[in-house]
């Protein structure tokens, strides 16, 4: 277990929804072949706009965000963080976060390949 020669990381980015296409393109340019996207709602420093329905105010605590997950080889992590940061930044509050975690094993279901070969 742990980081063998073929160490892989899971890079997770929480971004503003309308930046999805920009980030996807930036990652594709870096040669990232795969990623998985989830619609999430975020709670953070950025406060939801207050919506008023027939005079009832609803503070929308949770704001629509997109979560991107991609597993990549260890050594690509800094580049990828850089690329996401560039593509997803608007400079305004709520731009989101990038997290990196360790992945111990990866398998491609179709072929059974494991490790980096599965990416």
């Amino acid at each position: 277990m742990g980081e063998g020669p073929q160490g892989m990381k899971l890079v997770t980015a929480i971004i503003k929804p309308f930046k999805l296409d920009d980030v996807r393109e930036a990652l594709a340019e870096l040669g990232v072949h795969g990623l998985t996207v989830t619609e999430v709602r975020g709670f953070g420093r950025q406060k939801g706009q207050t919506e008023i329905y027939r005079g009832a105010e609803y503070t929308i605590n949770f704001i629509a965000k997109i979560k991107i997950e991609t597993v990549v080889p260890d050594e690509r992590v800094p580049d990828i963080i850089h690329a996401i940061t560039e593509a997803a930044r608007t400079g305004r509050i709520g731009d989101g976060k990038i997290m990196v975690a360790n992945v111990e094993q990866m398998v491609r279901i179709r072929t059974g390949e494991t490790g980096e070969g599965a990416l």
């Binding site: 008023i52 329905y53 027939r54 005079g55 009832a56 929308i60």
Partner: protein, 423 residues
């Protein structure tokens, strides 16, 4: 028995279909669009179920109580289970109906009784359906069924008799209500307020996000209400005549005025006009023009609409919050308040020649004295509706329990009352 007029009958058949369209799917969508996801199906099926139940109640007893001659207070039982309804049918043809036949105030029509009673049935259906907006998201379905039966017989039918039967004592006061401002809207709105207070506020109000699940449904619903309202108001002319034409025109203008009125107030107060606000305003305008439709000119209708749009904004958005009751979908805020605005303004804008009839050639004209009569009719409706609704609520609450448990409420009525869910 005189012959029917096919043109008038045609229009009344259509009007019946249009008013039914208001409840299902119109109101069902309007209300369902404003609730949370977990209550969408139950909200819709409340309107649909009421449609089924009241149809049966109406033919069994409701129509007899409301529209047979009887006394000034209530009809008799001569149409119990619609007995005798086919007596005049000959080779599929029917004669024209006379309301209050044989009395001094008889009102001859040009359509068969079957059509008249079907048309009135659709009014009896929509009234309790409107009421459900007040306790959306926390009513037990079984209790609603029982409540609806009692309410239809003890609240709706009597008031309909008082106001619309030519012998009715409220009609005798000289108040006018073209298409149901008091009988339908004030009545359901006020009853809704009573229910909202008695059932209590929704769990998590002011804390949880209770924003509407799908306002697209609410917009479609409001649009169908608008279209169907032509049957409600122009149909109340009971024929395809000049009064129907004017009633349709004033209905349209007041709806437009209501939408614009609410929109402008909201723009000014919150910086943005909401879609829900515009459609709510249109509905408020429609409500307010209901008692007035066949009696006022387009200019008056525009004022009625604009005023109703503005005032209902305040009652739904400001007053409710101040007073703290949870009339969830503003049954009172829109239908009760809008109905009152309309009933009173009818007393201001009524135009004699429009409302004139053979028996009342001067017609009803706006002014202080008419306004007073309108106030009386409104007051009477409110008193009866409040007292009887409270009583019925109390009884059903004792017997079955009106409100679901807190956990059922949190899980949603779709799952707990009907075992279903939106996917």
């Amino acid at each position: 028995m005189h012959a029917i007029d096919t043109g008038d009958t045609s229009w009344m058949l259509v009007s019946t279909a249009l008013v039914l369209l208001m409840t299902i799917p119109g109101l069902a969508l309007f209300y369902a669009g404003m609730v949370r996801r977990k209550n969408v199906l139950s909200t819709m099926i409340q309107s649909f179920g009421i449609c089924c139940i009241v149809s049966i109640v109406w033919i069994v007893l409701g129509y007899s109580l409301a529209f047979t001659t009887g006394t000034a207070w209530i009809g008799d039982m001569s149409r119990f289970f619609l007995c005798g309804i086919a007596d005049h049918i000959h080779q599929g043809a029917d004669g024209a109906f006379t309301l209050g036949a044989g009395t001094s105030a008889e009102t001859p029509m040009t359509i068969p009784e079957s059509v008249y009673l079907m048309y009135q049935m659709t009014f009896a259906i929509i009234t309790p359906a409107l009421l459900t907006g007040a306790f959306a998201g926390r009513i037990r379905f079984s209790a609603l069924c029982v409540f609806t039966i009692l309410w239809s017989l003890l609240v709706y039918s009597p008031i309909a008799h008082w106001v619309w039967s030519p012998l009715g004592w409220v009609a005798g006061l000289g108040a006018v209500d073209f298409a149901g401002g008091t009988v339908v809207h004030i009545n359901s709105g006020v009853a809704g307020l009573v229910c909202a207070i008695m059932i209590g506020r929704r769990y998590g109000l002011k804390r949880d996000d209770m924003s509407p699940h799908n306002l697209a449904y609410a917009i479609i619903g409001a649009a169908l209400l608008w279209v169907g309202w032509f049957g409600f108001n122009a149909g109340s002319a009971l024929g395809a005549n000049g009064r129907a034409g004017m009633a349709m025109l004033t209905t349209q203008v007041a709806a437009a005025g209501g939408g614009v009125g609410w929109m402008l107030v909201e723009w000014w107060r919150h910086g943005k006009p909401t879609a829900l606000g515009i459609v709510s305003g249109a509905v408020a305008g429609l409500v307010a023009v209901t008692p007035a439709a066949g009696f006022v000119l387009p200019g008056g209708a525009l004022v009625i609409g604009l005023v109703a749009g503005g005032i209902c904004f305040y009652s739904a958005a400001v007053l409710k919050n101040k007073l703290g009751y949870d009339d969830s979908l503003d049954a009172f805020g829109v239908h009760g308040v809008g109905g009152i605005v309309g009933a009173l303004l009818t007393g201001v804008f009524a135009y004699g020649p429009l409302s004139a009839t053979a028996s009342n050639p001067a017609g009803v004209s706006g002014g202080w004295s008419q306004l007073l009569r309108q106030v009386e009719a409104v007051g009477v409706t409110i008193i009866w509706s409040v007292l009887l609704t409270a009583l019925i609520f109390w009884v059903v609450d004792r017997l079955i329990g009106m409100r679901v448990s807190s956990e059922e409420e949190q899980m949603g009525l779709d799952l707990t009352q009907h075992g279903e869910r939106l996917n």
